[in-house]
């Protein structure tokens, strides 16, 4: 089995599916002749040609709208938006059309598009290049939101997203595009959407996270394991619609939960998960549901981002607070 990083795994998934499904089309800025800002589509135009790997003008709204129209007529468009912060120009198309197509037509059309975008901080990038505003899209019924946390996860989740009949926003954590290499299954490899992944089982506290934040969470859990704290780590991976069953089962066992995300705190997805646990698992809870999050500010500029992003120390402290409550 090959070892790949996350961006290579994305490329492998796109390559595999382009070969398998003649209706699949890639669209985006600089994705063809150039190979993409993060090289996710590198080389694909040479194999599949410019009719299937389509270089577009700088028109996020136009690209997403065109993809929706193509999807309604039987194609499977996979769009790359260069950074999550560039997606805001296409909000109208995503919210008013992609998310509503199925409901609006009372099931007569579906909208099988995937919009891929690098997201999240920690890459020393300027404003609008480090966004983590996934809650905006989770709050949009009709869209699915998927975030992988490792290369193999990226491949399995991306293939499932492409085959899903509904529109999927696939957010790739830019910080770990090249940080991790792991074995990625070759060929067909599907991870079902809507199912969270339990990385380690534990009885003392449930840690709920996704994307790049999984990695400091793993370190924090390692550190606490030395002190005898057994954490159950859950990678949510499909943020919408999310796997509430796995979360509730875990918390009914551990009685404690800490949610870790780099997005701003207020009305972040952590708030919704916390509300769910309070509504559905109140009698299991032995401590308040705690959150480690970014601040309620626009993502700060490169030199100060380390103060913004949750780090291992903060996560450890919060877990200790939950466990020691």
């Amino acid at each position: 089995m090959n070892k790949s990083n996350l961006v290579q795994a994305v490329n492998e998934a796109l390559h595999f599916e382009l070969e398998k499904n003649p209706d699949m089309i890639l669209l985006g800025e600089d994705i063809g002749r150039d190979g993409g800002v993060f090289r996710a589509t590198d080389g694909l135009i040479d194999i599949f040609g410019e009719n299937r790997v389509v270089d577009t003008p700088l028109s996020e709204s136009g690209i997403v709208g065109v993809a929706i129209g193509m999807a309604a007529y039987g194609l499977i468009p996979v769009v790359e938006i260069q950074f999550m912060g560039f997606l805001y120009g296409a909000m109208e198309q995503l919210l008013s059309h992609a998310a509503r197509l199925r409901n609006r037509t009372r099931g007569r059309y579906t909208c099988p598009i995937v919009v891929r975008a690098p997201y999240g901080g920690g890459i020393h990038a300027p404003e609008l290049h480090s966004e983590s505003t996934e809650a905006l899209f989770v709050h949009t019924p009709g869209l699915k939101v998927v975030v992988p946390s490792t290369p193999a996860e990226a491949k399995g989740l991306l293939l499932s997203s492409i085959r899903d009949p509904d529109p999927v926003l696939f957010l790739e954590p830019a910080k770990i595009y090249r940080a991790i290499k792991e074995e990625v299954p070759e060929g067909e490899y599907l991870i079902p959407l809507g199912q969270a992944r339990i990385l380690t089982e534990g009885k003392d506290v449930t840690l709920i996270t996704w994307g790049a934040m999984l990695h400091p969470v793993l370190k924090a859990a390692d550190r606490l394991a030395a002190e005898g704290v057994e954490a159950e780590i859950i990678d949510l991976r499909t943020l919408s619609p999310f796997d509430s069953e796995t979360l509730l089962q875990s918390v009914s066992k551990t009685g404690r939960a800490v949610i870790i995300h780099e997005a701003p705190r207020s009305c972040g997805l952590g708030a919704e998960i916390s509300a769910l646990l309070c509504e559905e698992a109140l009698y299991s809870l032995e401590a308040p549901v705690l959150r480690v999050t970014g601040f309620d500010i626009p993502f700060p500029l490169p030199k100060t981002e380390k103060y913004y992003l949750p780090d291992v120390d903060q996560i450890v402290e919060t877990i200790e607070a939950a466990v020691g409550y």
Partner: protein, 351 residues
């Protein structure tokens, strides 16, 4: 017809173009069918206006009476496998493709039998078997979708095209320009039909744009365009046919600007005199003299192929259809509340 300096000139002057439609060389049977379609749309909308005024219709209706020649003229060159999109004022677009009067009425009344199964209303029409992909209430929202639908047709190797109707207000939205550029660069078979009725919801175009000919945007994007009197169904038909033929034969997008006028105000039955800035009683009276239905009737009557008796008979038949469709729609059921939840995702994955 070209326009000078991107100003519409006489085309936008309501004291001009009151003459009969010239029908030389046109097939009388075909002309009568065009007349009947236009009159059907007019009477349907007059009926909706009356019912809205009476309070029988619960939600807003955006009426396009006065603009019938545009959709009717364009649709003569369209087929059911084309991909046609509209917006908030789209009754004519769906009816011109043969859409059901009953389906429209039932939708406006929120009944399960409506074109959107009663979940949309006047601004929310779908008739896919007739090629009408749909209208949505957001101005310019479907322009990119039609471009994508046209691109899909090209990639699938058919000679079907995308078509989108929008107005001189919508053309001020950014996504229109993104779509025009994309359509040109990817040589998409799509026809952009601009119903230039000189008004956004309430503001006259002179208060919104430096020139009133929106075809200047087609020129800027190197897209083949034509500008016509949108109240002349023959002119619309001929221009649309030329542009559509180019698109079907792989020559990329087309842009048809049809200059017209809506006889009702922005929404519902009122005429919006004084509400619309620069919409005067005098202008409205002059535009009524450029009525596309009346002018076609005059042209046919002068040529001796149609008479007032025939028009009256035609009108009586349409009114009968309208009355039956309306009565049926009023008897139809409302959608069941369970359908609210089950159509958001394909497989409902509840969290």
């Amino acid at each position: 017809m070209g326009v000078d300096n991107f100003d519409l000139g006489a085309l936008a002057d309501p004291t001009k173009s009151h003459d009969s439609i010239k029908i030389d060389g046109e097939d009388p049977v075909f002309l009568k069918s065009q007349f009947r379609q236009m009159l059907t749309i007019r009477l349907v909308e007059e009926h909706l206006a009356a019912m809205r005024k009476e309070g029988v219709i619960g939600g807003p209706v955006h009426l396009g009476a006065g603009q019938e020649a545009v959709a009717v003229g364009v649709s003569t060159s369209l087929r059911n496998t084309d991909r046609i999109f509209g917006a908030h004022r789209s009754h004519s677009h769906v009816l011109a493709m043969g859409g059901s009067i009953h389906g429209l009425f039932a939708e406006v009344l929120g009944r399960e039998t409506g074109l959107s199964r009663g979940m949309g209303g006047s601004m929310h029409l779908w008739d896919q078997p007739r090629g009408f992909y749909g209208s949505v209430p957001i101005v310019a929202g479907t322009v990119a979708l039609a471009t994508g639908a046209g691109l899909a047709a090209k990639m699938s190797g058919t000679d079907d095209i995308g078509v989108v109707y929008f107005g001189d207000g919508a053309i001020e939205e950014g996504v229109v320009h993104e779509s025009l550029n994309l359509a040109r660069m990817l040589q998409v078979p799509v026809l952009f039909v601009i119903e230039n009725n000189l008004f956004s919801s309430h503001m006259h175009i002179s208060l919104r744009q430096p020139h009133d000919a929106t075809s200047r945007f087609a020129a800027a994007h190197d897209i083949r365009f034509d500008t016509v009197d949108g109240n002349n169904v023959v002119a619309v038909k001929n221009a649309a046919q030329r542009l559509i033929n180019h698109s079907r034969s792989g020559e990329g997008p087309g842009f048809l600007e049809a200059v017209t006028y809506r006889l009702y105000g922005h929404v519902d039955w009122r005429e919006d005199i004084d509400v619309g800035v620069r919409r005067s009683t005098e202008d409205l009276a002059n535009w009524r003299k450029r009525d596309p239905i009346k002018r076609l009737f005059q042209g046919m009557e002068e040529a001796g192929i149609f008479s007032l008796d025939e028009q009256n008979l035609c009108e009586a038949e349409i009114r009968k259809d309208i009355d039956e469709a309306w009565a049926q729609a009023l008897r139809d059921p409302y959608p069941s509340p369970d359908t609210l939840l089950d159509r958001v995702y394909t497989k409902q994955v509840m969290g």
